[in-house]
C-alpha cells in the first residue's frame, strides 16, 4: 500500500526532499558505534575521580593518556582490520619482534640504528603481508592463520634472541649512531604547563585522526566497511577485496612496528617475551569501542575510547589503592558489558521507527 502512494508522490515531485525524515540529535548520536564506550568512559572516569583522589591531577591524566596510547596505537589498526572482517592475534608479539629485529640487527652488524629501524619495518610489513596473503589465498580463518604466526613469532623472539645475545633481552643501544634522532621521534617528551607528555600520545592522536579520515571519508574506507560487511557483494561490484584485506594486515604490522620502536627507544633494550597477551587488549579496546566482532561496523574513535578506558582503569586501580591483580577481572567485565551495550544500542538505533 504505502509503496504505491510513495511512488505517486515521487512522480509528482521527483527531487523534492520534503518527506525526508529528520533524525534528531539523540537518534544520530545513538547510531554512532562509539556511543556506548563514550558513556562507559565518562561513568568510569567519574567513578575513579571519586574513589581515587590521586587521579584528580593533570599529571595523572598525562600518565593515563600515555598508558592508553601504548595500547591505542596498535588498537586503531586492529580496529580497522576487524571492521574489515578479520583478526590478527600476532599483533602483540609483533611489537616485540619489530623491536628485537631493529635492535639486534644494528647492534650485531654495528650499523646505524636507522638501518635497523628501516629493515625492521620491511620485516614487519612482510609478516603483515604474509598474514593477509595466507588468509586470502587459503580461505582459512584469520584467527587460525594469525594464531600460527603468533606462536611462530613468540618462539622465534625467544629463540633468536637467546642465540644472538645469549640472554633474553637485547643489549643497550643508547651509545649507537642514530640513537638521538630516533629517540626524538619515538620516545621523547615535551612540557605542557607543569606536565611532561610523551610524544607517543601525540602520535596516537595523529593515527586516530588519519584512521578516522580514511574510514569515513575515502574510497578505501568505503571498501573496508564493504569487505567486512559483505565480502561477496563487495567483490561483485568490483572492490579489490584481496588488496584491501592484505593492506589492512599490513597496517596492523606497520603500527605494531611503530609501537616496537617506541618500546625500544623508551627502555633502550627489549625483553624477548614482551607483548604476549597484548593482542587481546587491542581486540578488547576495539570491541569496547563499538567494533562489531563479525566486521562491517565500528570506527577509529571508538577504538581510541576503548584504549582510554583500558589506560584509565589500569592506572586508577593503583591510584585507588586496590590490589592491581583485579585489573584483568575488571577488563573481562568491561568487555562483556561493552558487548551487551553495543548489542542493545544497535538494536535501538536500527529498529525501524513508525512513520
Amino acid at each position: 500500500m504505502s509503496q504505491t502512494s510513495e511512488k505517486q508522490r515521487s512522480t509528482e515531485t521527483p527531487s523534492e526532499a520534503s518527506n525526508r525524515v529528520q533524525v534528531g540529535l539523540l537518534g544520530r548520536a545513538l547510531a554512532r558505534p562509539e556511543i556506548g564506550a563514550l558513556v562507559a568512559a565518562i561513568v568510569i572516569g567519574i567513578f575513579f575521580l571519586v574513589v581515587a583522589p590521586p587521579f584528580r591531577s593533570a599529571e595523572s591524566l598525562a600518565t593515563v593518556l600515555y598508558q592508553s596510547a601504548t595500547i591505542g596505537i596498535v588498537a586503531v589498526a586492529v580496529g580497522m582490520l576487524m571492521i574489515g572482517g578479520e583478526f590478527d592475534l600476532s599483533a602483540g608479539v609483533m611489537v616485540a619482534s619489530a623491536g628485537l629485529f631493529a635492535s639486534m640487527f644494528s647492534y650485531q652488524y654495528n650499523l646505524n640504528l636507522w638501518i635497523g629501524a628501516l629493515l625492521s619495518l620491511v620485516f614487519a610489513l612482510a609478516i603483515g603481508f604474509l598474514n593477509g596473503y595466507l588468509v586470502m589465498k587459503t580461505g582459512i580463518a584469520s584467527f587460525l592463520i594469525t594464531l600460527g604466526t603468533f606462536f611462530i613469532l613468540q618462539g622465534a623472539n625467544l629463540g633468536v634472541t637467546k642465540l644472538v645475545t645469549g640472554s633474553v633481552s637485547t643489549p643497550n643501544i643508547n651509545q649507537m649512531n642514530g640513537y638521538a634522532s630516533l629517540e626524538k621521534i619515538f620516545s621523547s617528551t615535551f612540557q605542557v604547563g607543569s606536565v611532561r607528555v610523551s610524544i607517543i600520545v601525540v602520535w596516537w592522536f595523529v593515527f586516530v585522526a588519519i584512521a578516522s579520515w580514511v574510514l569515513l571519508r575515502t574510497k578505501i574506507g568505503n571498501w573496508i566497511y564493504a569487505v567486512g560487511g559483505n565480502q561477496a557483494s563487495a567483490r561483485a561490484v568490483g572492490v579489490p577485496v584481496v588488496r584491501v584485506k592484505i593492506g589492512l594486515f599490513m597496517t596492523v604490522s606497520f603500527l605494531a612496528w611503530f609501537m616496537g620502536m617506541h618500546t625500544l627507544y623508551r627502555f633502550n633494550t627489549i625483553q624477548a617475551g614482551n607483548g604476549v597477551g597484548n593482542e587481546f587488549l587491542y581486540i578488547i579496546a576495539a570491541v569496547v569501542g563499538g567494533t562489531l566482532l563479525t566486521g562491517g561496523y565500528g570506527n577509529a574513535i571508538g577504538a581510541a575510547i576503548g584504549s582510554f578506558i583500558f589506560g584509565m582503569t589500569s592506572l586508577c586501580i593503583v591510584y585507588a589503592g586496590w590490589d592491581p591483580n583485579w585489573f584483568r577481572a575488571f577488563l573481562g567485565v568491561m568487555l562483556l558489558l561493552a558487548v551487551l551495550v553495543n548489542l542493545y544500542v544497535k538494536k535501538l538505533s536500527t529498529t525501524r521507527k513508525v512513520g
Binding site: 518527506n19 574510497k219 563487495a234 561490484v237 572492490v239 525501524r352
Partner: protein, 271 residues
C-alpha cells in the same frame, strides 16, 4: 520511473545487436561437470530468461558471464571480441553488471555508500583523497526518487529497506554506472507478489532502454511476463532454447516442473 534508465543507458546500443555470446561453453570443477555445451546470445533490448531447478547450472552460468568464475570450455565473446574474465571488475569494465539475489548490497552500510560502492566519487585521483559526500548523497537520493524508491533517510543502513527496494537500488546502481548487459540473479525469489511486480517493471524498463538483460529465475510465470527468449537448463545442459513466439507459458511451466519426468511420475503415482 524509467528516467534513470533511459537517461543513463548507453545510446550506442541498437535493438537486437548481440552483446554477449556463449558458444559451447562448459565448466568443470575438478571431476564435476557443472555446465556443458551452452549456447546463449544476449541481445540489446531483449530479456533472455534462464530457467532451471536448483542445481541445474544457472548460478554457474551467470558466474561465468559476470566474471566470478572463468569458463574452461568453449568461447565467450562480448561485442564480438573473445574474452576470458578473471574478476568481476573486468566484466564490469565491459559493461556487464550483475545483481545478485542475496548479495546485492552491504546491509550495514548507508544507502548512498551502497549506491556508489566500487565507483565512489573522489575529490581527486590521489589515494586517500576525500569523497564528495554531499554530491554522492544528492545523486543517490535523486536517482532513487526518479524510480519511485523514497528512502526515509539516505543515511540509513540499506539493510532497513525492504527486499524489493534493495533489489531496485542494486539495479538502479548498475544502470547508473553504465551497464550495457544486466544480469539479474533470481531477483524475485525472496519477494512478495507486489514487490516482485516492482522488480519486473524495472526489468522491462531496462529492456526498453535498450539494455541486454539476462533474467535468471525458477519461476516461469515471472519469466514469461518479461522474457523474449527462454533457455531451460537441466543438469548443466540446455533442454529448451526458444524464442517467445515459439513457446507458450504452459510448455515452460511443464518443462520447469519436470516435463516428461513428471508425466512418468504421475503414471507411477496413479491411484
Amino acid at each position: 520511473m524509467t528516467d534513470t534508465i533511459s537517461e543513463h543507458a548507453d545510446e550506442t546500443l541498437t535493438q537486437g545487436e548481440a552483446l554477449v555470446q556463449l558458444r559451447d561453453v562448459g565448466k568443470r570443477y575438478g571431476a564435476i561437470r557443472a555446465l556443458k555445451g551452452i549456447n546463449l546470445t544476449v541481445r540489446a533490448g531483449e530479456v533472455t530468461c534462464v530457467l532451471g531447478d536448483n542445481g541445474a547450472g544457472k548460478s554457474t552460468l551467470i558466474k561465468i558471464i559476470s566474471g566470478l568464475h572463468p569458463h574452461n570450455e568453449g568461447t565467450l565473446t562480448v561485442d564480438g571480441q573473445e574474452v576470458h574474465f578473471s574478476s568481476p571488475r573486468e566484466a564490469l569494465d565491459h559493461g556487464i553488471a550483475t545483481v545478485y539475489q542475496d548479495l546485492a548490497v552491504v546491509g550495514l552500510m548507508e544507502v548512498w555508500r551502497n549506491f556508489f560502492l566500487g565507483s565512489e566519487l573522489t575529490a581527486s585521483g590521489i589515494p586517500l583523497s576525500g569523497l564528495k559526500v554531499k554530491e554522492m548523497k544528492r545523486i543517490a537520493d535523486e536517482e532513487l526518487r526518479k524510480m519511485g524508491i523514497v528512502v526515509k533517510n539516505i543515511d540509513q543502513p540499506i539493510g532497513e529497506l525492504s527486499g524489493g527496494q534493495r533489489q531496485c537500488v542494486a539495479i538502479a546502481r548498475a544502470v547508473y554506472f553504465g551497464a550495457r548487459v544486466l544480469i539479474l540473479d533470481e531477483p524475485t525469489a525472496a519477494l512478495g507478489v507486489k514487490q516482485s511486480g516492482v522488480v519486473l517493471k524495472y526489468t522491462a524498463a531496462a529492456r526498453d532502454a535498450g539494455l541486454g538483460v539476462v533474467f535468471i529465475t525458477h519461476n516461469p510465470h515471472h519469466a514469461y511476463l518479461v522474457g523474449d527468449h527462454f533457455v531451460i537448463l537441466k543438469l548443466g545442459e540446455a533442454v529448451l532454447d526458444k524464442k517467445r513466439s515459439e513457446v507458450d507459458l504452459d510448455e515452460l511451466t511443464r518443462q520447469m516442473a519436470g516435463g516428461d519426468e513428471l508425466t512418468e511420475l504421475s503414471h507411477e503415482l496413479k491411484r
